[in-house]
Symmetry: C2
Subunit: 350 residues, 2 copies
Amino acid sequence: MSTRRATISDVAREAGVSPSTASVVFSGKTPVTDATRAKVLHAAERLGYAGPDPRAASLRRGRSGIVAVVFEEHLGAAFLDPVKTLMMDGLTDGVAPLGAGLLLLRDHDPSGAGPSLTNAPIDAAVLIGCSGMLRESLAAVSARGIPVVVIEGDAGDGVPRITLDNRDAQRQAASHVKSLGHRRVVLLTLPTRARRPRGWLADDETIEIDVTRDRSLGARDIFPDAPAYAAEASSMDEGFLAAREILSVPAPRRPTAIIAQSDLLAAGAVRAAEDLGIRVPAELSVTGFDGVAVDGLAPHELTTLVQPAVEKGRAAGRVVAAMLEGRPPPVVTFTCEFREGNTTAEPPRG
Amino acid sequence: MSTRRATISDVAREAGVSPSTASVVFSGKTPVTDATRAKVLHAAERLGYAGPDPRAASLRRGRSGIVAVVFEEHLGAAFLDPVKTLMMDGLTDGVAPLGAGLLLLRDHDPSGAGPSLTNAPIDAAVLIGCSGMLRESLAAVSARGIPVVVIEGDAGDGVPRITLDNRDAQRQAASHVKSLGHRRVVLLTLPTRARRPRGWLADDETIEIDVTRDRSLGARDIFPDAPAYAAEASSMDEGFLAAREILSVPAPRRPTAIIAQSDLLAAGAVRAAEDLGIRVPAELSVTGFDGVAVDGLAPHELTTLVQPAVEKGRAAGRVVAAMLEGRPPPVVTFTCEFREGNTTAEPPRG
DNA sequence: TTGTATGCGTTATCAC
DNA sequence: GTGATAACGCATACAA
């Protein structure tokens, strides 16, 4: 009973073939006689050999079959966002052709103990958003020649990106609202920067997060003077709290429409309105953004912009594949599709 | 301009030291003179060396720093469940002391192309639930001596598990409901098996999923004859649809309490009741399970069983660590805490 | 179709 | 504190 685990050479010896033959039996990269295959497989079974060690194989191949997904936030927070969840699904599909899996990484691991972009055996990295903390690891990663792609963010230099026509799309929704006749409109935005408490935006406040900025610009293209209220996160509860404040003014001055930057925020706004006895859409129109199925909003159906979240993930996978094969990464830009639900209507007369 | 990437030996040569010294500079495992460290670091910089190759390191060390998390379902579906999300958070923490990260794996990859338990360079695996498809890979994995732990499931043999006192806990909630005076009670259960359409359970129907079975048993300990309706998934919308059917009987025969097996289902039931003009808790009591913050249920607060979801994840990390160090895996069983909210009350008189 | 030889890039161990 | 040596386990180019 040797204490050592069997290796492929042991199997080869036991089977009476050369190591390379045994290797080929497992990898299937070269035709092998049925007889030899059987010999090798039997030998493996006798020795309790469970197949080639992935660690050794990845050193030899120069590929680990692992793609890192880097989140800006706490993982729990990331998965609360249905768009990210869908993107992950797409990404899973997108890297499958590479035979790769996804390694979850936090942007700036607080513990410092965990794995990082710099010391994990990854073939490529996908960044979801791109905050400042990341820049340094990014340098190390590209120094190592590891492909990087960014979804919804800007990593500077020549890092390929998957982007969305946020500004155009939001402008489209705003136009719709305007064409219905609304004049008193409020923007309910995503966070403008990390850890900003919820509240009204000052006129000169800079918006650090790309998505928030672009969607705000789109809305302001149509309603240049609309006040904006930033939520602390993208969730129904945040939307609920924000809208309650937005709507807590006498009816004549109360906004007749809220342009929210995510479906979750919009859904929260709808519930807040109901809670205050304000009917949607008769007295208040609400638009969302994302086009995700919001759990618990039935029977309302948001007027929103449907973004191809799953496709974004898949595209990231394709970009990674291209770079890994030395092909130039394709430029990928997706567009949103406007979808009219039953949360928008003409403003009340008066 | 060599086409080859610099290795640690190149750096060592350039710095005029031995490879082992250079290695030590990067790993920090042994004291090094400041002078030599500087020499090595400079050499590395000159050569554009970005640190040791993790693939080679993991072969040499026999550790990749990666722990697989295996889900039964599509990732998107998994993360719709707040309990799983919380567990992932805990797991992230739990494996951090190992310096490990999490690799997402689907139970039965439909494409067949993706990575699997058998060919990914992992140090350990955590199974969330444990469906049948998995058993074979499981064999291969344990043959390789890779530690495996199961959360909320049974992988047979000697695979350590992290479990919850589902039956006891559910019995506690049911007792509470009974002590309030309820007699017409309906169980709103989680799926009984994969892809079962929503609907009433037949008396003799077998429940394949452990969690569902255990919680049902707990409720039946108190209400042996309560009818049960199984949802298709754990979501508010499912709860909404299910409850609408459950409640669609004339008031005298209508249940006065619904014992739901998840907070999401319970929340959906509360909304369905509201939608039907049935007041909660005055006319209908609802209990949940999980104790997660349900986004969008305010101002209701569920009477529920709080389970330590994050702790379950952390515990899995600890179990893995123990096994990796050759220690016997601790047996981990968590208990839920009953929490009374404002969704339960005495049944209406009549 | 099979075997031979080599190196993938590191780091643990031990001596110095 | 530093250096020599020897694996780690495999897959491929090439020859047979």
